[in-house]
Protein backbone atom coordinates (compact mmCIF):
# COMPACT_ATOMS: atom_id res chain seq x y z
CA UNK A 1 0.00 0.00 0.00
CA UNK A 2 1.32 3.37 -0.99
CA UNK A 3 2.46 5.33 2.02
CA UNK A 4 0.66 8.51 1.02
CA UNK A 5 -2.66 6.68 0.82
CA UNK A 6 -2.35 5.49 4.41
CA UNK A 7 -1.29 8.97 5.50
CA UNK A 8 -4.24 10.58 3.75
CA UNK A 9 -6.66 8.11 5.33
CA UNK A 10 -5.33 9.25 8.70
CA UNK A 11 -5.93 12.92 7.90
CA UNK A 12 -9.59 12.74 8.94
CA UNK A 13 -8.82 12.01 12.59
CA UNK A 14 -6.43 9.98 14.75
CA UNK A 15 -7.36 6.35 14.13
CA UNK A 16 -6.67 2.71 14.89
CA UNK A 17 -5.22 0.58 12.12
CA UNK A 18 -8.46 -1.37 11.81
CA UNK A 19 -10.38 1.86 11.27
CA UNK A 20 -8.09 2.72 8.38
CA UNK A 21 -8.67 -0.75 6.98
CA UNK A 22 -12.43 -0.28 7.21
CA UNK A 23 -12.15 3.01 5.31
CA UNK A 24 -10.12 1.30 2.62
CA UNK A 25 -12.59 -1.58 2.34
CA UNK A 26 -15.45 0.86 2.05
CA UNK A 27 -13.75 2.76 -0.75
CA UNK A 28 -12.55 -0.30 -2.65
CA UNK A 29 -15.45 -2.73 -2.22
CA UNK A 30 -14.70 -6.09 -3.86
CA UNK A 31 -11.28 -4.83 -4.92
CA UNK A 32 -10.28 -4.48 -1.28
CA UNK A 33 -11.00 -8.11 -0.48
CA UNK A 34 -7.71 -9.35 -1.86
CA UNK A 35 -5.79 -6.89 0.29
CA UNK A 36 -3.38 -8.26 2.84
CA UNK A 37 -4.59 -7.22 6.30
CA UNK A 38 -1.07 -6.87 7.69
CA UNK A 39 0.03 -4.48 4.97
CA UNK A 40 -1.46 -1.43 6.59
CA UNK A 41 0.40 -2.09 9.86
CA UNK A 42 3.70 -2.57 8.03
CA UNK A 43 3.15 0.77 6.32
CA UNK A 44 2.19 2.48 9.59
CA UNK A 45 5.39 1.24 11.24
CA UNK A 46 7.45 2.64 8.36
CA UNK A 47 5.63 5.95 8.53
CA UNK A 48 6.28 6.14 12.25
CA UNK A 49 10.02 5.54 11.72
CA UNK A 50 10.01 8.28 9.10
CA UNK A 51 8.46 10.69 11.59
CA UNK A 52 5.29 11.17 9.56
CA UNK A 53 2.96 9.63 12.17
CA UNK A 54 3.09 9.11 15.90
CA UNK A 55 1.26 6.43 17.81
CA UNK A 56 -0.15 6.24 21.28
CA UNK A 57 -1.24 3.11 23.04
CA UNK A 58 -4.89 3.39 23.95
CA UNK A 59 -6.46 1.80 27.02
CA UNK A 60 -6.92 -1.91 27.17
CA UNK A 61 -4.68 -4.74 26.09
CA UNK A 62 -1.10 -3.83 25.49
CA UNK A 63 1.17 -5.05 22.69
CA UNK A 64 -1.57 -5.51 20.12
CA UNK A 65 -0.97 -3.37 17.05
CA UNK A 66 -4.75 -2.85 16.92
CA UNK A 67 -4.58 -1.02 20.23
CA UNK A 68 -2.48 1.82 18.92
CA UNK A 69 -3.99 5.09 17.82
CA UNK A 70 -2.07 6.75 15.02
CA UNK A 71 -1.93 10.45 14.30
CA UNK A 72 -0.26 12.59 11.64
CA UNK A 73 2.75 14.71 12.63
CA UNK A 74 3.25 18.16 11.12
CA UNK A 75 5.56 16.57 8.55
CA UNK A 76 2.86 14.01 7.83
CA UNK A 77 0.28 16.75 7.30
CA UNK A 78 2.67 18.46 4.91
CA UNK A 79 3.23 15.24 2.93
CA UNK A 80 -0.53 14.63 2.60
CA UNK A 81 -1.05 18.20 1.39
CA UNK A 82 1.68 17.82 -1.25
CA UNK A 83 0.33 14.47 -2.38
CA UNK A 84 -3.24 15.73 -2.75
CA UNK A 85 -2.01 18.68 -4.83
CA UNK A 86 0.28 16.53 -6.98
CA UNK A 87 -0.83 15.69 -10.54
CA UNK A 88 -0.01 12.11 -11.46
CA UNK A 89 -1.56 9.55 -13.71
CA UNK A 90 -0.39 6.06 -14.53
CA UNK A 91 1.21 5.72 -17.94
CA UNK A 92 -0.81 3.62 -20.34
CA UNK A 93 1.37 0.80 -21.54
CA UNK A 94 0.42 0.80 -25.20
CA UNK A 95 3.79 1.00 -26.90
CA UNK A 96 4.81 -2.54 -26.03
CA UNK A 97 1.71 -4.08 -27.55
CA UNK A 98 1.98 -1.81 -30.58
CA UNK A 99 5.58 -2.83 -31.16
CA UNK A 100 4.65 -6.48 -30.75
CA UNK A 101 2.25 -6.13 -33.66
CA UNK A 102 4.78 -4.23 -35.79
CA UNK A 103 7.57 -6.73 -35.12
CA UNK A 104 5.33 -9.78 -35.54
CA UNK A 105 4.13 -8.50 -38.91
CA UNK A 106 7.58 -7.49 -40.14
CA UNK A 107 9.24 -10.81 -39.26
CA UNK A 108 6.12 -12.85 -40.04
CA UNK A 109 6.25 -14.27 -36.53
CA UNK A 110 2.48 -14.27 -36.24
CA UNK A 111 -0.62 -12.73 -37.80
CA UNK A 112 -1.11 -9.37 -36.05
CA UNK A 113 -4.87 -9.79 -36.32
CA UNK A 114 -4.66 -13.09 -34.41
CA UNK A 115 -2.63 -11.32 -31.70
CA UNK A 116 -5.30 -8.62 -31.54
CA UNK A 117 -8.02 -11.28 -31.26
CA UNK A 118 -6.25 -13.01 -28.38
CA UNK A 119 -5.75 -9.70 -26.61
CA UNK A 120 -9.40 -8.78 -27.11
CA UNK A 121 -10.59 -12.05 -25.61
CA UNK A 122 -8.44 -11.41 -22.53
CA UNK A 123 -9.72 -7.83 -22.16
CA UNK A 124 -13.31 -9.00 -22.57
CA UNK A 125 -12.84 -11.52 -19.78
CA UNK A 126 -11.53 -8.76 -17.54
CA UNK A 127 -14.36 -6.49 -18.58
CA UNK A 128 -16.79 -9.28 -17.74
CA UNK A 129 -15.33 -9.62 -14.26
CA UNK A 130 -15.34 -5.86 -13.68
CA UNK A 131 -18.87 -5.58 -15.04
CA UNK A 132 -20.13 -8.38 -12.83
CA UNK A 133 -18.53 -6.80 -9.79
CA UNK A 134 -20.11 -3.45 -10.74
CA UNK A 135 -23.54 -5.04 -11.11
CA UNK A 136 -23.52 -6.38 -7.56
CA UNK A 137 -22.25 -3.12 -6.06
CA UNK A 138 -24.88 -0.67 -4.77
CA UNK A 139 -25.37 2.26 -7.16
CA UNK A 140 -23.34 5.36 -6.33
CA UNK A 141 -21.15 3.65 -3.73
CA UNK A 142 -17.47 4.63 -3.66
CA UNK A 143 -16.50 1.17 -4.86
CA UNK A 144 -18.96 1.36 -7.77
CA UNK A 145 -17.22 4.51 -8.95
CA UNK A 146 -13.84 2.79 -8.95
CA UNK A 147 -15.28 -0.18 -10.84
CA UNK A 148 -16.74 2.18 -13.40
CA UNK A 149 -13.27 3.61 -13.91
CA UNK A 150 -11.94 0.12 -14.63
CA UNK A 151 -14.80 -0.60 -17.01
CA UNK A 152 -14.27 2.66 -18.92
CA UNK A 153 -10.54 2.03 -19.28
CA UNK A 154 -11.10 -1.50 -20.56
CA UNK A 155 -13.65 -0.14 -23.02
CA UNK A 156 -11.10 2.39 -24.25
CA UNK A 157 -8.52 -0.40 -24.68
CA UNK A 158 -11.06 -2.46 -26.61
CA UNK A 159 -11.76 0.47 -28.92
CA UNK A 160 -8.07 0.83 -29.60
CA UNK A 161 -7.89 -2.88 -30.42
CA UNK A 162 -10.67 -2.33 -32.95
CA UNK A 163 -8.52 0.34 -34.58
CA UNK A 164 -5.53 -2.05 -34.53
CA UNK A 165 -7.63 -4.75 -36.16
CA UNK A 166 -8.87 -2.43 -38.91
CA UNK A 167 -5.37 -1.24 -39.58
CA UNK A 168 -3.70 -4.65 -39.77
CA UNK A 169 -6.57 -6.25 -41.69
CA UNK A 170 -6.24 -3.49 -44.29
CA UNK A 171 -2.49 -3.98 -44.66
CA UNK A 172 -2.85 -7.70 -45.09
CA UNK A 173 -5.39 -7.18 -47.87
CA UNK A 174 -3.26 -4.51 -49.52
CA UNK A 175 0.01 -6.44 -49.67
Amino acid sequence: MQQEVVLALLAKEPSHGYQLRARLQQALGPLGEAMNAGQIYVTLTRLEKAGLVVSERSDGLADRPDRKVYELTAAGQQRVGDWVAEVSWPRPDLAEFHLKLVAAAAARLADPVAIVDAQRRELLRRLRDAQRAAMTEPTRSDAALLLEGIVLRLQADLRWLEACERNWTGRKGGS
Binding site: G32, P90, R120, L124, R125, R126, R128, D129, A133, E162
Partner: protein, 248 residues
Protein backbone atom coordinates in the same frame (compact mmCIF):
# COMPACT_ATOMS: atom_id res chain seq x y z
CA UNK B 1 -41.10 -29.11 -32.02
CA UNK B 2 -38.46 -31.49 -30.73
CA UNK B 3 -39.22 -33.89 -33.58
CA UNK B 4 -36.62 -32.17 -35.74
CA UNK B 5 -34.02 -33.44 -33.29
CA UNK B 6 -32.58 -29.99 -32.68
CA UNK B 7 -31.87 -28.57 -29.25
CA UNK B 8 -31.48 -25.00 -30.52
CA UNK B 9 -34.16 -22.40 -29.94
CA UNK B 10 -32.91 -20.45 -32.90
CA UNK B 11 -30.95 -21.71 -35.87
CA UNK B 12 -29.72 -20.11 -39.07
CA UNK B 13 -27.95 -21.78 -41.94
CA UNK B 14 -26.34 -20.01 -44.89
CA UNK B 15 -28.50 -17.00 -44.09
CA UNK B 16 -28.26 -14.14 -46.61
CA UNK B 17 -29.86 -10.76 -47.11
CA UNK B 18 -29.05 -8.59 -50.09
CA UNK B 19 -30.20 -5.14 -51.08
CA UNK B 20 -29.89 -3.46 -54.49
CA UNK B 21 -28.64 -4.88 -57.76
CA UNK B 22 -25.54 -5.02 -59.94
CA UNK B 23 -22.87 -2.61 -58.80
CA UNK B 24 -25.09 -1.32 -56.03
CA UNK B 25 -25.56 -4.80 -54.52
CA UNK B 26 -25.09 -4.82 -50.77
CA UNK B 27 -24.65 -8.12 -48.96
CA UNK B 28 -25.94 -7.03 -45.55
CA UNK B 29 -25.92 -10.60 -44.23
CA UNK B 30 -23.61 -12.87 -46.15
CA UNK B 31 -23.82 -16.54 -45.27
CA UNK B 32 -24.41 -16.72 -41.52
CA UNK B 33 -24.60 -20.03 -39.65
CA UNK B 34 -25.85 -19.81 -36.09
CA UNK B 35 -27.29 -21.92 -33.31
CA UNK B 36 -28.62 -20.47 -30.09
CA UNK B 37 -29.18 -22.86 -27.21
CA UNK B 38 -32.10 -22.49 -24.78
CA UNK B 39 -31.20 -20.14 -21.93
CA UNK B 40 -28.14 -18.82 -23.69
CA UNK B 41 -27.23 -15.13 -23.82
CA UNK B 42 -25.54 -14.42 -27.13
CA UNK B 43 -24.05 -11.07 -28.11
CA UNK B 44 -23.26 -10.16 -31.71
CA UNK B 45 -20.82 -7.28 -31.96
CA UNK B 46 -19.59 -5.28 -34.85
CA UNK B 47 -19.25 -1.76 -36.24
CA UNK B 48 -22.26 0.12 -37.63
CA UNK B 49 -23.22 -1.25 -40.98
CA UNK B 50 -21.77 -4.73 -40.40
CA UNK B 51 -25.24 -6.24 -40.83
CA UNK B 52 -25.99 -7.09 -37.23
CA UNK B 53 -29.36 -5.31 -37.10
CA UNK B 54 -30.41 -6.89 -40.39
CA UNK B 55 -29.43 -10.27 -38.96
CA UNK B 56 -31.60 -9.66 -35.89
CA UNK B 57 -34.55 -8.75 -38.09
CA UNK B 58 -34.13 -11.97 -40.06
CA UNK B 59 -33.89 -14.04 -36.86
CA UNK B 60 -37.08 -12.49 -35.50
CA UNK B 61 -39.07 -12.73 -38.71
CA UNK B 62 -39.30 -8.94 -39.12
CA UNK B 63 -37.65 -9.29 -42.50
CA UNK B 64 -37.35 -12.05 -45.11
CA UNK B 65 -33.97 -13.53 -46.06
CA UNK B 66 -32.70 -13.50 -49.66
CA UNK B 67 -31.43 -17.01 -49.11
CA UNK B 68 -30.64 -19.64 -46.51
CA UNK B 69 -32.67 -20.97 -43.64
CA UNK B 70 -33.84 -19.54 -40.35
CA UNK B 71 -35.59 -21.73 -37.82
CA UNK B 72 -37.28 -20.77 -34.57
CA UNK B 73 -38.34 -23.56 -32.21
CA UNK B 74 -37.91 -26.02 -35.07
CA UNK B 75 -40.11 -24.08 -37.49
CA UNK B 76 -38.75 -22.58 -40.69
CA UNK B 77 -39.49 -18.84 -40.69
CA UNK B 78 -38.18 -18.45 -44.24
CA UNK B 79 -40.86 -20.82 -45.56
CA UNK B 80 -43.73 -19.47 -43.51
CA UNK B 81 -46.67 -17.50 -44.91
CA UNK B 82 -47.26 -13.90 -43.78
CA UNK B 83 -50.03 -14.76 -41.35
CA UNK B 84 -48.18 -17.59 -39.65
CA UNK B 85 -45.05 -15.45 -39.48
CA UNK B 86 -46.91 -12.58 -37.83
CA UNK B 87 -48.34 -15.04 -35.31
CA UNK B 88 -44.91 -16.48 -34.62
CA UNK B 89 -43.46 -12.98 -34.10
CA UNK B 90 -46.19 -12.09 -31.65
CA UNK B 91 -46.00 -15.24 -29.57
CA UNK B 92 -42.45 -16.49 -29.74
CA UNK B 93 -40.29 -13.37 -30.07
CA UNK B 94 -39.81 -10.30 -27.88
CA UNK B 95 -38.10 -7.30 -29.45
CA UNK B 96 -36.14 -4.59 -27.65
CA UNK B 97 -34.95 -1.54 -29.60
CA UNK B 98 -32.38 1.19 -29.03
CA UNK B 99 -35.01 3.95 -29.09
CA UNK B 100 -37.39 2.01 -26.76
CA UNK B 101 -40.37 2.40 -29.16
CA UNK B 102 -42.86 2.84 -26.36
CA UNK B 103 -46.25 4.40 -27.12
CA UNK B 104 -45.99 7.91 -25.70
CA UNK B 105 -49.70 8.27 -24.97
CA UNK B 106 -49.94 4.98 -23.05
CA UNK B 107 -48.85 4.46 -19.44
CA UNK B 108 -46.09 2.00 -18.55
CA UNK B 109 -48.53 -0.77 -17.67
CA UNK B 110 -50.59 -0.14 -20.83
CA UNK B 111 -47.43 -0.40 -22.93
CA UNK B 112 -46.45 -3.66 -21.27
CA UNK B 113 -49.88 -5.29 -21.62
CA UNK B 114 -50.32 -4.30 -25.27
CA UNK B 115 -48.62 -7.34 -26.85
CA UNK B 116 -50.73 -9.69 -24.72
CA UNK B 117 -53.94 -7.90 -25.77
CA UNK B 118 -52.87 -8.08 -29.42
CA UNK B 119 -52.22 -11.79 -29.00
CA UNK B 120 -55.76 -12.31 -27.73
CA UNK B 121 -55.37 -12.32 -23.94
CA UNK B 122 -58.30 -11.11 -21.87
CA UNK B 123 -57.81 -7.56 -20.56
CA UNK B 124 -57.73 -8.86 -17.00
CA UNK B 125 -55.11 -11.52 -17.71
CA UNK B 126 -53.04 -9.06 -19.74
CA UNK B 127 -53.13 -6.48 -16.95
CA UNK B 128 -52.23 -9.05 -14.32
CA UNK B 129 -49.25 -10.23 -16.33
CA UNK B 130 -48.15 -6.66 -17.07
CA UNK B 131 -48.26 -5.70 -13.40
CA UNK B 132 -46.26 -8.75 -12.39
CA UNK B 133 -43.67 -7.92 -15.06
CA UNK B 134 -43.37 -4.35 -13.80
CA UNK B 135 -42.94 -5.77 -10.33
CA UNK B 136 -40.20 -8.05 -11.62
CA UNK B 137 -38.28 -5.15 -13.19
CA UNK B 138 -38.66 -3.04 -10.06
CA UNK B 139 -41.03 -0.46 -11.56
CA UNK B 140 -44.36 -1.45 -10.00
CA UNK B 141 -44.66 2.05 -8.52
CA UNK B 142 -44.33 3.58 -12.01
CA UNK B 143 -47.16 1.57 -13.59
CA UNK B 144 -49.38 4.60 -14.22
CA UNK B 145 -46.57 6.85 -15.46
CA UNK B 146 -46.32 7.96 -19.07
CA UNK B 147 -42.99 7.18 -20.73
CA UNK B 148 -42.17 10.91 -20.74
CA UNK B 149 -42.14 10.82 -16.92
CA UNK B 150 -39.60 7.98 -16.82
CA UNK B 151 -35.81 8.07 -17.09
CA UNK B 152 -34.07 6.49 -20.08
CA UNK B 153 -33.11 3.42 -18.08
CA UNK B 154 -36.67 3.03 -16.77
CA UNK B 155 -38.11 3.37 -20.28
CA UNK B 156 -35.85 0.65 -21.58
CA UNK B 157 -36.77 -1.60 -18.66
CA UNK B 158 -40.45 -1.04 -19.47
CA UNK B 159 -39.68 -1.89 -23.09
CA UNK B 160 -37.98 -5.10 -21.93
CA UNK B 161 -41.01 -5.96 -19.78
CA UNK B 162 -43.18 -5.42 -22.88
CA UNK B 163 -40.94 -7.78 -24.82
CA UNK B 164 -41.64 -10.42 -22.16
CA UNK B 165 -45.43 -9.96 -22.19
CA UNK B 166 -46.15 -13.12 -24.18
CA UNK B 167 -43.44 -15.25 -22.59
CA UNK B 168 -41.37 -15.36 -25.76
CA UNK B 169 -38.98 -18.20 -26.55
CA UNK B 170 -36.34 -15.65 -27.36
CA UNK B 171 -35.77 -11.95 -26.70
CA UNK B 172 -33.98 -10.10 -29.50
CA UNK B 173 -32.42 -6.80 -28.51
CA UNK B 174 -30.98 -4.28 -30.96
CA UNK B 175 -28.46 -1.92 -29.31
CA UNK B 176 -30.53 -1.79 -26.09
CA UNK B 177 -28.09 0.49 -24.24
CA UNK B 178 -27.30 2.72 -27.22
CA UNK B 179 -29.25 5.66 -25.80
CA UNK B 180 -28.36 5.17 -22.15
CA UNK B 181 -25.81 6.66 -19.79
CA UNK B 182 -23.56 4.53 -17.66
CA UNK B 183 -25.89 4.17 -14.69
CA UNK B 184 -28.91 3.31 -16.83
CA UNK B 185 -26.77 0.82 -18.75
CA UNK B 186 -26.08 -0.94 -15.46
CA UNK B 187 -29.82 -1.08 -14.69
CA UNK B 188 -30.46 -2.76 -18.03
CA UNK B 189 -27.51 -5.13 -17.62
CA UNK B 190 -28.78 -6.16 -14.20
CA UNK B 191 -32.19 -6.85 -15.69
CA UNK B 192 -30.73 -8.93 -18.53
CA UNK B 193 -28.71 -10.84 -15.94
CA UNK B 194 -31.84 -11.67 -13.95
CA UNK B 195 -33.59 -12.80 -17.15
CA UNK B 196 -30.58 -14.95 -17.94
CA UNK B 197 -30.75 -16.53 -14.49
CA UNK B 198 -34.44 -17.22 -15.05
CA UNK B 199 -33.53 -19.15 -18.21
CA UNK B 200 -34.60 -16.63 -20.84
CA UNK B 201 -32.85 -16.99 -24.20
CA UNK B 202 -31.38 -13.67 -25.28
CA UNK B 203 -29.75 -12.46 -28.49
CA UNK B 204 -28.31 -8.97 -28.28
CA UNK B 205 -26.67 -7.08 -31.13
CA UNK B 206 -24.58 -4.19 -29.94
CA UNK B 207 -21.38 -2.29 -30.20
CA UNK B 208 -21.39 -1.71 -26.43
CA UNK B 209 -18.59 -3.88 -25.05
CA UNK B 210 -20.20 -3.74 -21.60
CA UNK B 211 -23.14 -5.84 -22.73
CA UNK B 212 -21.01 -8.03 -24.90
CA UNK B 213 -18.78 -8.87 -21.96
CA UNK B 214 -21.72 -10.11 -19.88
CA UNK B 215 -22.92 -12.58 -22.53
CA UNK B 216 -22.17 -16.32 -22.48
CA UNK B 217 -20.93 -16.17 -26.03
CA UNK B 218 -19.75 -13.33 -28.18
CA UNK B 219 -19.66 -13.27 -31.95
CA UNK B 220 -17.84 -10.58 -33.92
CA UNK B 221 -19.41 -9.62 -37.22
CA UNK B 222 -17.81 -7.80 -40.16
CA UNK B 223 -19.23 -7.11 -43.60
CA UNK B 224 -22.23 -9.38 -43.08
CA UNK B 225 -20.30 -12.41 -41.85
CA UNK B 226 -19.10 -13.86 -38.53
CA UNK B 227 -15.34 -13.48 -38.09
CA UNK B 228 -14.66 -14.48 -34.49
CA UNK B 229 -16.38 -16.28 -31.67
CA UNK B 230 -15.50 -16.12 -27.98
CA UNK B 231 -16.99 -18.07 -25.14
CA UNK B 232 -16.67 -15.93 -22.07
CA UNK B 233 -16.20 -17.66 -18.78
CA UNK B 234 -14.59 -16.80 -15.51
CA UNK B 235 -15.80 -14.67 -12.69
CA UNK B 236 -13.25 -13.72 -10.10
CA UNK B 237 -12.32 -10.28 -8.91
CA UNK B 238 -8.84 -11.45 -8.04
CA UNK B 239 -7.01 -9.47 -10.70
CA UNK B 240 -9.33 -6.45 -10.72
CA UNK B 241 -7.18 -4.75 -8.12
CA UNK B 242 -4.23 -4.86 -10.50
CA UNK B 243 -6.37 -3.12 -13.13
CA UNK B 244 -7.05 -0.30 -10.70
CA UNK B 245 -3.39 0.08 -9.76
CA UNK B 246 -3.63 -1.81 -6.48
CA UNK B 247 -0.80 -4.17 -5.66
CA UNK B 248 -2.04 -7.47 -4.36
Amino acid sequence: MSDTGTTSVLRACGLRKEYGKGEGLVRAVDGVDLEVAPGETLAVMGPSGCGKSTLLHLLGGLDRPSGGEVELAGRRLDQMGEKALARMRRHAVGFVFQAFHLMDELTAVENVELPALLAGSSPRAARRRALSLLEQIGLADRAKFLPSALSGGQRQRVAIARALANEPLVVLADEPTGNLDSEATLEVLRLFESLHEAGQTLVIVTHDTRIAATADRLISMRDGAFVDETRLTGGTTGHLGALAGLES
